[in-house]
Symmetry: C2
Amino acid sequence: MTEIRKNLPVDEQLAVLKRGVVDLVSEDDLRRKLEDSLETGQPLRVKLGADPTRPDLHLGHAVILRKMRQFQDLGHKVIMLIGDFTATIGDPSGKSKTRPPLSIEEARANAQSYLEQCRLILRSEPEVLEIRSNGEWLEEMGYKDIIALTAKYTVARILERDDFSKRLREGTPISMHELLYPLTQGYDSVALKADVELGGTDQLFNNLVGRALQRDYGQEPQVVMTLPLLVGLDGTEKMSKSLDNYIGVSDEPHAIFAGLMKVPDTLLENYFTLLTDLPQDRISEVLAGHPVEAHRQLAREVLGWLAPGSDPDAAEERFRSVAKGGIPDDLPEVTVAADELNDEGNVSMARLVVLAGLEPSNGAARKLIQNRGLKVAGEPYTDAQGWVTQAELGTEGGFVVQKGKDKFVRLILD
Amino acid sequence: MTEIRKNLPVDEQLAVLKRGVVDLVSEDDLRRKLEDSLETGQPLRVKLGADPTRPDLHLGHAVILRKMRQFQDLGHKVIMLIGDFTATIGDPSGKSKTRPPLSIEEARANAQSYLEQCRLILRSEPEVLEIRSNGEWLEEMGYKDIIALTAKYTVARILERDDFSKRLREGTPISMHELLYPLTQGYDSVALKADVELGGTDQLFNNLVGRALQRDYGQEPQVVMTLPLLVGLDGTEKMSKSLDNYIGVSDEPHAIFAGLMKVPDTLLENYFTLLTDLPQDRISEVLAGHPVEAHRQLAREVLGWLAPGSDPDAAEERFRSVAKGGIPDDLPEVTVAADELNDEGNVSMARLVVLAGLEPSNGAARKLIQNRGLKVAGEPYTDAQGWVTQAELGTEGGFVVQKGKDKFVRLILD
């Protein structure tokens, strides 16, 4: 891990921090805060809100976490604010499927997993990492406090948020509590005395609410910095787990390698800017060369910081072998007992998937097959009612089934 | 005091209750609730919200309180809900002058005075009167409860309220907390399990929020009943203390009499309907006669229930004497010590007003005079720097000063 380099000149800090940034409200404020920090020796407090209802991090999240890391590397303190209290509330109107209420145990477990993934990118030294929960202040808040908070903001300003004004225009219902969330989120910045808040471009409005509220509560308003939403491997939608166009931050090194080799050429420059430290002129050089070489370079750069202990040559080797439809060497093996075969000497493919531990039940296995999630010998296997013969199972080297991109199991008949 | 007449047939109850009502949402619901009450013997719970920031009641308030009283006379239970908790919050945005925050002591003292005036109209038997404070549940409410409450109502529905949509259209700021008040007020009905809520026509929207929320909380929705805002003695504006077009419910009987004699002819029918129990055909008869007679009848009817112990003849007699510029007999007397006179044998009018106990200081006395609030011998006395001579003070029968309509003091030189 590199050294923390405190007290760099403000211009040098700004050059690092501005890379890849979309909105910066405002650069003057950030410069002044950096100057003050340099003078007083007090690091900036840089906030990021984390939603523990969606604990799986991918490279889209990594874009923002890398910016947090840059603040850390410059000696500033990042604050991971876990929204575990709000997660236990969920969406009481029951309208949003993405906000089911969690038990406090679930929320904490999710937060734990979220933070473990963050540590792949962030520094852990306590002087540059603070972990907080919004329950610390929201749990204490009473009716009076909420009236006082909401008195500081007008309806018109809240309704300026793009999605609200759109829904209001279209007559799509907005529940009253949805208007409270941006205010609560803004109040988090007041409670934390944040100097800077980071977020995706979709968080610009919410984070500006925090900036306005801090002023109303007599604090210096925070700087709001947004980063682009990373476009996923499909080349069109933002990276997200549900669209399956993502690379997970805790994926195996060869899977990360494989994913980055699939980045559409048009996105290469974007990925280099947001996910590597290569200077702009080096990026231009790389992009001028052969695209496959550029992809390899991208993959190696990302592995360099995301999986610093991994061997990039091994990851590349394994990626190549899988890409050719080859089967990696180090597969888990599962023995199939002879009595699994029926009187004709066959066993259903669904049953084999269960025996391989790839799905918990025959039903789930059939669903996997229907959804083209199962491969045999590199080809999709699509017959959910299919059977495998004793001869197929008994082949020298076993019968290898593959789920998704990268889960292989070798079945061996006993 | 008349007897409580429980268990009257539903149609008879409805006939009484519907008199003078503007909105009734819905009559079917009210009928069904009355039927259920008759069947089970359970009285209806009839809610009225009271704002302890404005504790002075006038006949405009009496219109609604009389409706409450009718429910009581039919055996139903009225609930006076004192908004003392919200009064202590006031308007934290500081924009509304009519909602300054009160200390809890002020709020309680106001509520006490408010309730004493209500008792001039309402029955006090505990089976038909319940007094509650919204602090009982609002004080307990946390962030989670407020999110749950606000999740039940959409922004569009709140913004339908006339004044909100108007302000939003005109660009006049609405603070977010203002949107919370109707929801809180509606939640009061949930907490109280109200069957009926009364209010002025200006409360229709807020009280319908309560009706909607009760449904969302799994309760029978309350019936919302509104009564007209009584037009004041000026014949145009709604009765209000600040417009000085009012008759206070605890005014002296002769002042009430005097006020009602001044009701514009065009409002007589309205006042008869809302402030007396005279049947409609009797009202028509009275209105067909001489207007002065109609006024007298109105005044006597109102005194009958508002000041049942008073002598209407005496009130009328005194009203007549004051109206003619005459001075009533039973005046408080104050002796003026001889050393109050200066070397020329005069005393300032301001000083006399203080000695009479009509104002606390010479400054306040001069202000009263400037505002034409002082009369001598029936005529306004307007010279704030004026002097009264020993001769004037020494007149047989003393020197009578009059503040406002009806406060007389006889000054006698020692």
